[in-house]
């Protein structure tokens, strides 16, 4: 197995990871950045596949001639340049799957080759994923995430002329709706779960952030012809083998839409698995579990730092600022880190307003019916899960969360569906920069009713047995409780 050494290893090449890498290198460290995606830039700055992205249906190559222009996003490019000038090495298509020690991490590339990385300091910038909530029909092909659909379009999927409904919550709905219009889609509507009053309050607070105000105004101009519903969410998707119709509850009315695609997600959840695997403490927050960090973005493990969405959802400006703080602090450049910290604190104030305005409403807990599949990997229904006293029992008895996604989709959904009292908006946010007594360690978690307290086990992604053996890691079976047998042996662990 290939072994690589560096001073600082950055995991994730989104805005936070790119900024962290550049800062650490400017602080004199040798830096390697890993990202599992083939492209740099993370969710927001990822480049677009060649324009005119219609793969031809015909066998004639001439039918779909288009200029290839896989240029990275301007800002990703700028950070990349800045980092590269200081000798930062980027390895893309490389998924980190285990951390046997905090200074020894294992990754696997797309061809299944493993590499070991030894680093004195590790900066985790693993970003966020979308939160999906189960409702009847959500498993139909053509129902995708909001950012998920955007990512597919960036990957070359054609949406020209397609009728698309967007549903869920947050400004991402508006940003992606505008993006889809720009790609020729017919956006039939936007269903926002937050109330009009909450969104309006948020809008008025934007005067404090003039650049956001300008962005918002531009978006609304672009979207003026698109019906925008508030207090609205999908209650059912139907179709034969794919989504064709969506029923939306809007206030006390019900509306039907004929669609080709439904893009639906309820906000973002921090990706904390790697941090938890490395023993970093987390704390609960309105966004879900977040990685606890101090004012220098240092986690509870002294050599591990964390920046961007895993420490709380806050958007691109906050991610960049946190990345700078982590990168400078990890290289001992505390003066520069302090300057970046002031920028971070301003960006965080915006994030907290966003959290309050778009908090999920308790009514969404009634979305799944008994027959609705909640765990897509193992086809476990809401009824089967609800019959279990704890999530842990549900895992053992029904295999819920034990499939290839390892609970990354159903976990955040269950955390929301089973939460007895919704977190009061804005309560936890003040404590996010400082670990508190309420902080929980991943390793201390026993059986619990919540999903998020559950322990993370390696490998983080399904990895072939020969890779694990080559990396000197015991096969997964040694670490696992014995769940009910899988109905599919698709992935060799």
């Amino acid at each position: 197995m290939r072994e690589v050494r560096c001073d600082v290893l950055v995991v994730g090449a989104g805005p936070a990871g790119l900024a962290a890498a550049a800062a650490a290198a400017e602080g004199g460290q040798s830096v390697i950045v890993l990202d599992e995606n083939p492209h740099l830039g993370g969710q927001i700055w990822r480049p677009q596949a060649a324009e005119a992205n219609q793969p031809s249906r015909s066998v004639s190559p001439r039918a779909a001639a288009a200029p290839p222009s896989a240029h990275a996003h301007r800002r990703a490019h700028a950070w990349h340049q800045r980092a590269q000038k200081r000798g930062v090495i980027f390895e893309t298509g490389m998924t980190l799957f285990d951390a046997p020690r905090t200074d020894h991490l294992l990754a696997v590339d797309a061809a299944g080759q493993a590499s070991a990385f030894s680093a004195q300091q590790v900066i985790l910038a693993t970003g966020a994923a979308e939160r999906f909530l189960p409702f009847p029909g959500w498993t139909l092909p053509g129902v995708m995430g909001v950012g998920g659909l955007q990512a597919m379009v960036k990957g070359g999927m054609a949406v020209r002329g397609k009728r698309i409904l967007l549903a869920g919550t947050g400004p991402l709905l508006l940003a992606v709706a505008a993006f889809l219009l720009d790609h020729g889609a017919h956006v039939v509507g936007i269903a926002e779960q937050a109330s009009r009053a909450a969104v309006r309050r948020f809008g008025t607070s934007l005067w404090r952030h003039p650049n956001k105000l300008v962005q918002a105004a531009r978006l609304f101009t672009r979207l003026r012809a698109v019906p925008l519903l508030h207090d609205a969410w999908p209650t059912q998707a139907e179709g034969f083998g794919r989504v064709e119709q969506v029923r939306v509850a809007a206030g006390d009315r019900c509306q039907e839409f004929d669609v080709d695609l439904l893009a639906c997600a309820f906000g973002l959840v921090p990706r904390t698995e790697l941090a938890r695997l490395m023993g970093c403490a987390t704390q609960s927050h309105i966004d879900g579990e977040i990685v606890a960090v101090d004012r220098w973005q240092r986690t509870t493990v002294a050599t591990v730092w964390c920046a961007g969405e895993p420490t709380g959802i806050g958007g691109v400006d906050l991610a960049v600022a946190e990345g700078l703080v982590a990168g400078y602090a990890a290289s001992g450049a505390f003066k520069r880190a302090g300057r970046a910290a002031r920028r971070r604190d301003r960006a965080r104030a915006f994030a907290e307003r966003l959290d309050r305005a778009y908090a999920l409403r308790p009514a969404l807990r009634a979305l799944p019916t008994d027959a609705t599949v909640v765990c897509r990997c193992e086809d476990v229904t809401w009824q089967a899960i609800r019959a279990q006293p704890t999530i842990r029992q549900a895992k053992l008895q029904t295999r819920c969360g034990m499939g290839p996604c390892q609970g990354r989709i159903c976990g955040p959904a269950l955390a929301f569906l089973t939460r007895a009292t919704p977190a009061a908006p804005g309560t936890a946010t003040q404590t996010t920069t400082r670990p508190t007594a309420a902080t929980t360690s991943s390793h201390a978690a026993g059986p619990s009713t919540g999903w998020t307290g559950d322990r993370v086990r390696p490998p983080l992604v399904p990895v072939a047995v020969n890779v694990l053996i080559g990396a000197g890691q015991a096969p997964l079976a040694n670490h696992q409780p014995s769940p009910a047998p899988s109905r599919h042996q698709e992935i060799s662990l």
């Binding site: 995606n37 060649a50 992205n53 793969p55 498993t139 092909p141 794919r242």
Partner: protein, 82 residues
């Protein structure tokens, strides 16, 4: 032809632009269903970012490849278990 990649998806020849992911090429060619769930339901890409595994297919002999994270390469062969 330059600037176009040739793929074989379930026996059919397709041409795509460089930078296209396998999942995108697939969805454009067919309905958005790529695989069947353990209970036999049709499924297609959900997250577009490599975490849900709903887009997996066999790519050049590698089973369970997340096609949304896999850029198309010239001469690639993709088989799905739709």
């Amino acid at each position: 032809m330059e600037n176009r990649l040739q793929l074989t998806i379930d026996g059919r020849t397709v041409w795509v632009a460089p930078g296209t992911t396998v999942a995108a090429a697939w969805v454009d060619l067919h309905a958005p269903a790529i695989r069947r769930s353990v209970a036999g339901q049709p499924r297609g890409p959900l997250c577009g970012m490599g975490i849900c595994y709903e887009c997996r297919a066999t790519v050049d002999g590698h089973p369970h490849t997340r096609t949304c994270q896999t850029p198309c390469r010239d001469g690639m062969t993709i088989t799905t278990d739709r």
